[in-house]
Amino acid sequence: MNRAEKEEYLREYGQLKAEGEPFFPYSVAKDSIIAVVVMAIIITMSIVLGAELGPKADPTSTTYVPRPEWYFFFLFELLRIIKPPELVPLATIGVPTIGLILLFLLPFYDRGAERHPLRRPVATTAGIMVIFAMGYLTYMGAAAGSPNEIEMKAPSTLTGVALVEWEKGKTVVGQSGCLACHKIGENGNDGPGPQLTHVASKLPAQAIAQTLRNPTSPMPSFKNLEEQSPEKFRAMVSFLGQLN
């Protein structure tokens, strides 16, 4: 806005203000009504939806759902869909940071005098697109599969019993919550534990089994699993042992 536009705006605004209404009761009445509505919504949600409390936090646990509040889903989803490792920092912090900087600086790069949304096609379109993108990511985040699932295809060389064993191992590893700390293929969190996508090329199956029995903290031990259901343990080892 140049000087003339600023003055024109202030003049017109002054006029609109003079033709306006006193804050009390005009605005106060509307605000009070809305306050009642907001309170009613919160109370209703509290009564209908309640406040759940899951099982107590257990740092050694193996089954958990690392779900954030739903309004962070779009950030999580961003993380999920940007797969290549070298782009991950960009997804996690890059996109949100750039978005935030753009948001902060908005009044300094969009300085046109026009305020009517229909006569600001670029701003209005960009705004609507951002809303749709965030809505879409939130929806995808909400619909995303269980965080305890590994979406990996068996190597085509596997057939018969070996394939069944592999699939079983994949399920057990997923259910055991390894993804909380390890990345396997495209699933799981990268850290605190190392990626397991190619463990077998670093560790032979024997060493993997040994780590499962005697892990370094905070990883839980699977010794009990081996004693109670040895076939599950074997499946785990055979799955992990084939991740080359």
Binding site: G20, P22, M45, L53, L79, G94
Partner: protein, 262 residues
């Protein structure tokens, strides 16, 4: 003595105090008369010292451009924030921010305390409502072009408020210390750590150390109930001060009825 009428909303005629007839009772006599006078005197005494009646009158009766219902969104956010503050204080009376007792204190509150579950629900869903309202308010000011001259700073303060609101939600999520909150927070803090430059420091600050440990919970609690709410309070103060100074916008499609003659 300042005139009390200037504080008062317009009162329907039927409710107005009847003026005394001239010549009768120049001094208060009955107890009722005295009671009526006492309020005026107290207000007058206070105002003689605070000298606020002018500012209050200005704030209440300043003119605002005619607007639509979307202009109530800013106030709704503030109202939701106040609700969070009040319910939060109640929750704090029963909450124990230690890794050993946090979960148990919440469980007791939820299952045993009178209206405990309701109170938690108010705070929990209040946060959702507040976040939605912040986004709606931001969208409103965006589409109405309210961030333009001369309200640029108000927009910038608003973005700070948006970040602070999200920080509230993030830090509050850990406090019940159940499985969900624990693991989601670990993941969230790790994600923070991958950020450029400040990322690792931010993670260390949040965890109160390089590992997720016993002090992490107290750290989150302090951030959630002192640091961030204090900052929000201050920022909302600045935000509202600017709104009052500059006046709220007019919806961009409203034009003055008569052309400004200048």
């Amino acid at each position: 003595m300042p005139d009390l009428k200037k504080f008062l909303p317009p009162i329907p005629d039927s409710l107005k105090l009847q003026p005394r007839r001239a010549g009768t009772n120049p001094e208060p006599e009955t107890a009722l008369d005295n009671a009526q006078e006492a309020g005026k005197h107290a207000a007058g005494w206070i105002d003689e010292r605070l000298q606020l009646s002018g500012a209050v009158r200005w704030a209440l009766f300043r003119k605002v451009p005619r607007h639509d219902w979307t202009y109530t969104l800013g106030f709704s956010v503030m109202f939701a924030f106040l609700s969070q503050a009040v319910t939060g204080v109640f929750l704090a009376t029963a909450y124990d921010p230690s890794t050993t007792n946090a979960y148990e204190s919440i469980r007791q509150m939820t299952n045993e305390a009178f209206l405990g579950q309701f109170l938690r629900g108010m705070h929990r869903w209040g946060s959702t409502v507040m976040v939605i309202l912040v986004f709606l308010h931001m969208a409103q000011t965006f589409f109405y072009g309210a961030y333009k001259y001369p309200r640029e700073l108000n927009w910038v303060i608003g973005v700070v408020l948006l970040v602070l609101t999200m920080a509230m939600s993030f830090t509050g999520y850990l406090l019940p210390f159940d499985q969900r909150s624990y693991w989601a927070t670990i993941v969230g803090v790790n994600i923070n750590g991958t950020g450029p430059i400040v990322g690792p420091y931010l993670s260390d600050f949040l965890r109160a150390g390089p590992e997720f440990g016993a002090t992490t919970l107290s750290r989150f609690y302090a951030i959630h109930m002192l640091l961030v709410p204090g900052a929000i309070g201050a920022m909302v103060g600045a935000h509202l001060w600017l709104v009052m100074r500059l006046g709220t916008t007019s919806p961009p499609w409203n034009k003055p009825r008569k052309k400004a003659d200048a």
